[in-house]
């Protein structure tokens, strides 16, 4: 979806932010929001408090609440996806194959003994 957003807006977002590259990646407050996600899922409460204060200061309270809602949503969606074993859709597999390979995301499926690209099961083959 980040890639779709990037294309739609005609802006070159740096997708490597997803895997921990530093910087904003051409997304306003990108580094701060990545740090927020990391702090919420981490266990350093002092660090989390610092990031919370920074978001409220540099963005605003409404952005703070909406960012929290996104972390909350995906921290749970990931568990639903992983616990039910749903595969990635064929169309999504096709459109994101290069990005997933470049960012090393396919390894997450492989460590579960799953096929990263469901099209391989049907003999279509990975791009």
């Amino acid at each position: 979806m980040l890639r779709e957003s990037s294309k739609a807006k005609g802006e070159a977002y740096d997708l490597s932010l997803l895997t921990g590259t530093k910087g904003d990646g051409n997304i306003p407050n990108g580094a701060l929001l990545v740090a927020f996600a990391e702090a919420v899922l981490g266990d350093n409460d002092r660090r989390l408090q610092e990031i919370q204060a920074a978001i409220r200061d540099k963005m605003d309270d409404a952005a703070f609440v909406d960012a929290a809602a996104i972390v909350a949503t995906f921290n749970a969606i990931d568990r639903v996806a992983d616990a039910t074993g749903i595969p990635i859709e064929d169309s999504k597999a096709a459109s994101t194959a290069d990005v997933r390979a470049a960012l090393g995301i396919n390894a997450f499926a492989e460590q579960r003994g799953e096929i990263a690209d469901p099209r391989e099961r049907a003999g279509v083959g990975r791009i």
Binding site: V34, L41, Q52, D66, A67, R79, G85, Q111
Partner: protein
């Protein structure tokens, strides 16, 4: 409080953000109140008391030494022991809750097959996943905002519905049987399937289908998701922004969280 005959009331005031030093969107407050109320009520397969006990066990997971050892191990499957649980639920159900909470990225098909072989029906398992997801989501929201976790609701007595949708089938897609939208196009047997058919509107994303073996859980879960994230019709409307953060900022956070959780989907 007991469940009245017929449709249960989902009015629940155990969740409030009135004490927060900032405003929380009213639709989020309402969605959390509804989710908390559903948590307390009998579900499709589990009584309210079991659903609340699952919620409590979700919160117990970070204190479990076995889960910590497994998390640190190269593979969680070579580390045996007993979970540090609250002692309310069976070890079988505690194992499911703790693993989904503590190490979801390394769940495997073999683990899931073991869950079913150990005596958990696939229907109950899906409902457990739905309850875990609801609690994880709302607790994460509170942590993200620096607010204390909400007190769990008192369970509401009553019987689970115990109705399996005839349209849910194992098609070799996911570990669990799911409903395919095409199967909701004809005459439908249950009101739960009819509700899902109206709601789905032809959307095929597997994450929306993941809990569809228990249609009420799938429907309620995505009511919460769409409120906190974006309704389907807004997700790809990149010409407009609907939240206080942009599509790009939303997807950046979502993607980073999923990478941290090692979630491939």
């Amino acid at each position: 409080m007991t469940a009245a005959a017929g449709a249960p009331s989902f009015i629940c005031m155990t969740i409030s953000y009135a004490q927060a030093p900032f405003a929380v969107r009213a639709d989020i407050v309402a969605a959390h109140q509804q989710a908390w109320s559903r948590l307390a009520h009998p579900g499709t397969w589990l009584p309210g008391a079991t659903r609340v006990a699952i919620a409590a066990e979700v919160r117990q997971t970070p204190q479990c030494a076995l889960c910590l050892r497994r998390k640190q191990a190269l593979s969680p499957y070579g580390v045996d022991g007993r979970h540090d649980s609250l002692g309310v639920l069976s070890e079988r159900i505690v194992e499911q809750i703790h693993r989904i909470v503590s190490d979801p990225g390394r769940l495997t098909r073999a683990w899931f097959d073991g869950v079913v072989a150990s005596g958990t029906p696939d229907t109950e398992y899906v409902e457990i996943v739905g309850v875990v997801a609801t609690v994880v989501s709302i607790d994460t929201f509170c942590r993200a905002l620096g607010l204390p976790a909400h007190a769990l609701p008192a369970p509401v007595s009553g019987e689970p519905l115990r109705r399996r949708p005839g349209t849910a089938r194992q098609r070799g897609e996911a570990w669990v049987p799911m409903i395919h939208p095409k199967d909701l196009e004809g005459e439908l047997e249950t009101p739960e399937e009819r509700k899902l058919a109206t709601y789905w509107g032809g959307v095929l994303a597997n994450i929306r289908r993941a809990l569809s073996l228990v249609p009420e859980e799938a429907y309620a879960w995505f009511q919460l998701v769409e409120t906190q994230y974006l309704p389907g019709r807004w997700m790809r409307d990149f010409a407009n922004e609907y939240r206080a953060i942009t599509h790009a900022q939303i997807e950046l956070i979502a993607g980073r969280v999923s990478v941290l959780n090692q979630c491939f989907y």
